[in-house]
Symmetry: C2
Subunit: 173 residues, 2 copies
């Protein structure tokens, strides 16, 4: 099996990825209760791609959360004292996608929304895993900045976890 | 079993209920392919509640689509030549909910977003059926106007249809 480019998103039942303050604390109690397949998922990942803002948040969380993966940060500016196996790339998304296409182990396009959307728009995402969390946030941050093109997905499967989170798996058409 | 208040929503995988122009034509090919349980659903419904704007859209679609249900339109203004079994109510949501609580057959709180949100905020929704459609719209209309309180749901089940639409069923906590 060739390497796959994957996106994993957790969103509320009303389609939001963060609350009105940009926070994701509403996810904490779910993550404490169950790993929702994350352990199995991360073992399939060789390389993680993320935008600069996502990197800066992850960098200041405490211990670097992805020690076992090669991480690439999309940024025009050099990284200040990055963790091991973290590098910056100045490539644009299509060029980065082409450079990463050959290789072993999957690529996780982590975020943020603009990075994910860039890979989707470039037709580079093979697998989209959408975790629908049983919460109505009422107000907050949608996954994508508005104004992008629409496209269809192919549904591949649904898996319900004991927490009430449902994972919906799609391929891009 | 006592009567239930139900909400049924179709939204894209990116959490939108209408495209950027407010249209729902992107749902047409799904509805033509499969009824997604609508026939069974509507037979359980005795009464439909809707807001004025939703009523006006349904009224001008052609034949009135809900001939077998009692329909109540939340509006301060009289209805002009309503179909049979359609009446206006000037009650607010809590009073209407109390008036409808006793009775046979379920109540469908059809929409729009403000009406649904009013019933949710009043704690009157027993069952929320969320149909996740395998489409990324990229831009469009979220279910709820922002600025409402958050709450948790209890997940009750997932059902995948051959079209790739997945129905997620929740109870309000």
């Amino acid at each position: 099996m060739s390497r796959r480019f994957r996106v994993m998103i957790a969103q509320s039942a009303d389609g939001l990825i963060a609350d009105a303050a940009g926070g994701v604390e509403w996810l904490d109690r779910y993550q404490e209760a169950n790993d929702h397949g994350y352990g199995a998922f991360i073992r399939e990942i060789d390389t993680i791609v993320m935008g600069r803002a996502t990197y800066e948040v992850a960098r200041h969380f405490g211990a670097w959360p992805y020690p076992d993966q090669q991480c690439l940060v999309l940024s025009a500016r050099p990284l200040d004292d990055p963790p091991p196996r973290v590098a910056r790339t100045a490539l644009d998304v299509p060029a980065l996608g082409a450079a990463l296409r050959e290789g072993e182990g999957d690529v996780w396009v982590l975020g943020g929304g603009r990075t994910i959307r860039g890979f989707l728009d470039a037709g580079l995402i093979d697998l989209l895993e959408l975790f629908v969390v049983p919460e109505i946030l009422g107000a907050g941050v949608p996954l994508f900045p508005p104004g992008h093109a629409a496209f269809s997905l192919s549904f591949k499967g649904a898996l319900a976890f004991p927490t009430g989170i449902v994972r919906l798996t799609y391929q891009r058409n």
